[in-house]
Symmetry: C2
Subunit: 144 residues, 2 copies
Amino acid sequence: MTTSAELLDRLLLVTRLLAEDTARFEREHDLTGPRVHLLWQLGEEGPVRQGALAPALGVTPRHITGLVDDLVAGGYVRRDPHPSDRRALVVSLTPAGERFVAELQRSHEELAGQLFGEVPSVRRGALAAELDALAARLSELVTS
Amino acid sequence: MTTSAELLDRLLLVTRLLAEDTARFEREHDLTGPRVHLLWQLGEEGPVRQGALAPALGVTPRHITGLVDDLVAGGYVRRDPHPSDRRALVVSLTPAGERFVAELQRSHEELAGQLFGEVPSVRRGALAAELDALAARLSELVTS
DNA sequence: TATTGTTATACTCTATAACTATA
DNA sequence: TATAGTTATAGAGTATAACAATA
């Protein structure tokens, strides 16, 4: 018999290992978590005002200033004046930034294949449903 | 049909929500992640030398000095001289620290029940096996 | 000579508050 | 008067290197 506590401990182990794998990717590319997150966001959404990045990353506008500073210095992003609002700046990926995001997406796909590629079709639906149920229960806890 | 990428995204969502729930607990108790980790470790292992805590938490000895400083100031732990090695210090939980760890363990059990309490017996074994398989694949990736 | 823990220094994450330029 | 981004300041996580006391 598998207890609830044993299941939670297994899930937490998977969580820890996922974080380690992410950290390994970041070290290899000499970028930190928030920087990669910002680049990923830019890849998904395209060029945006700096202010729009703050809620998307869950950090303050002040922090975005520093992150963008460093990513500009690293050649990953570019700051341009906003076409109609002279207070605002628009951040977009440079060609090097585009290449990094493509590599990030490829790496994400590869991880998905390594982790779930062997799961048989008949099990995939049940597994997805179980993960959805976990997410739903956790959402309740987090927002309450 | 559920793709590998969809399964990975669901798993990552669960991971993110678990981290948020953990952060909520830490905020409520006005402690940070590494401090809670150190207290949990002390609850599991009993009194230990500071040096033994560094590899257990995956940080440098220098960082342990600061964490223990703050936990002593907060009344959670105590530093005593090592009985036979005058270079070393032994860290142990105070009564307040013991109470916190008991609350932490209770909270962990409660979360396990909330997340997995409804999973029927017949599904528990399969779920545990799937999580073990994920952990095994991730371990290979992380250590390679 | 090696080990334990601390001091010194530095970079990053993250937050709040005050400020400048613009709307 | 409100908004976009920056400067100023601060606490915490984390690392390396140098050092004192002890083994």
